[in-house]
Amino acid sequence: MGMTMVEKILAAHAGEDKVKPGQLVNAKLDLVLGNDVTTPVAIKEFDKIGVEEVFDQDRVAIVPDHFAPNKDINSAEQCKMIREFAHDKEITNYFEIGEMGIEHCLLPEKGLALPGDIVIGADSHTCTYGALGALATGVGSTDMAAGMATGEAWFKVPETIKFVYNGQLQEWVSGKDLILYTIGDIGVDGALYKAMEFTGEVIENFSMANRMTMSNMAIEAGGKCGLIEPDETTLEYVKDRAQRDYTVYKSDADAEYAEVIEYDVSEIEPQVAFPHLPENTRGISEVGEIKIDQSVIGSCTNGRLEDLRIAAKVLEGNKKADHVRLVIFPGTQEIYRQAMHEGLIDIFLDAGAAVSTPTCGPCLGGHMGILAKGERAIATTNRNFVGRMGHPESEVYLSNPAVAAASAIKGQIVGPKEVL
């Protein structure tokens, strides 16, 4: 019996020839990540362990992106604490505002997460790097602390569910729609404790941006990670970014899966997840009349250049509805700069958008776009839990960037065909 990608990656990092689902292994880590919310807790725990240095200064990444640029005095204290820790421990990959980005847009861009890696991050959307063929998974601050101290972490080898996407994509349907559709199908705990593997001709033809969007939301189905087999697209992406060796792992043809789920994508239209769970999905034609107060385009899910290009295509020559606040967050400084060079920022400003420096701010109800009681937002983010973007009685609807842009113009949730 062969092994899945995840099994191979875990076996290689645990020094084993073969591992099986359910087995507990201690594995070497290629990268340990934290942000300004989770790292302060990790530092307190790190200090209790009794080691002076992190296991490898080049393999820890700290990104102040959640409440940064500092939103208040407490946040400033938290950012100061992680800045000083990074300085003290001589951590190479600390990214100050002005050079930082939303962590899961930034790390792949900088070549810090690579195929075949094991990455743990004290942020649940660390699973994004599965799109590069890495085993990347979210952990808490204590795991981050132990990882920084030892360069190792324990893992239960997960079973894998294989998802196969075939067929012709409808216009305006993207990776975001496929992952929302999938979560709608299997539920928010449909992949609990399991690895997800995204395959099929649609995935093979997808850009890295679409792939990262899909892997990013594996956690929203309860998944430990969401992997895509590296191919030419992946290698082209990492070619000029990687500063160390990496290994491409592919699942064996006779690997054992917990389940194989196949989708004909030609039947999938742009998806909208209704409050208050990402599994509450409907096709755009079944949304009905939902008036919105805010549209948010960006985040670790959909803040990449390709996402901004799609939003710009819909917004070009249009204006947002008077009663709507449109906020756009490029994922990194590099994406921001490129968007500016391509004229996308002009299109956004002409449409009446507020364009922000990269931050996670609005996605988690931190800052830069909080909702008041009773307000509704359409967002290209990843969660629509109660109070996620502000007041507990506000509502978040999740969609792709084209739908969020079209909805901003119309003032209610609509697909791009309604405004073009």
Partner: protein
């Protein structure tokens, strides 16, 4: 370790945003976090609960964010144990790492009602419903996780290992 208290019961998919909303994550002080524990799902939770009370919930408790602030807030609020049909994996891992007792036991979730008095022996996984005079048995933890629990969490475990 003996645990005894009154039960507060919740449904499926209690996410970490309602356990501790992000607007309070500009601090990592467990005492501050505890003040807002469960605020967006049960506004008065902290005021009405007593030290040692238990949370019982259905599927996928603790889904969403990786914030360790969620189990930290629950623990610091004085909740002695969380029993659920299932836990989201990061929450499960975090709870074990910080020493918040959690048990997966669908029989207990089905049998226990809000307000029941419940006693738990975490070591054996035996859950006693004192109100209904019923007993439920949670599955044992895998050996390695039990080692972590016995060590008092991951940091203690790693500290011993690092010392060699």
């Amino acid at each position: 370790m003996e645990i005894k208290g009154q039960v507060w019961k919740y449904g499926d998919d209690v996410d970490t945003d309602v356990i501790i909303p992000a607007r309070y994550l500009n601090t990592s002080d467990p005492k501050e976090l505890a003040k807002h524990c469960m605020e967006d799902i049960d506004e008065d939770f902290v005021d009405k609960m007593s030290n040692g009370d238990l949370i019982v919930a259905e599927d996928n408790f603790g889904c969403g964010s990786s914030r360790e602030h969620a189990p930290l807030a629950i623990k610091a609020a004085g909740v002695s144990c969380v029993i659920a049909n299932s836990f989201a994996r990061i929450f499960y891992r975090n709870s074990i790492n910080i020493g918040l007792p959690i048990l997966e036991c669908p029989e207990a979730v089905a049998g226990i009602a809000e307000g029941d008095q419940v006693e738990v022996d975490v070591d054996s996984g035996l859950i006693k419903n004192l109100t209904k005079e019923e007993e439920y048995q949670a599955a044992a933890f895998p050996e390695f996780m039990q080692e972590l629990i016995d060590a008092g969490g991951l940091v203690n475990y790693v500290r011993e290992k690092v010392k060699g």
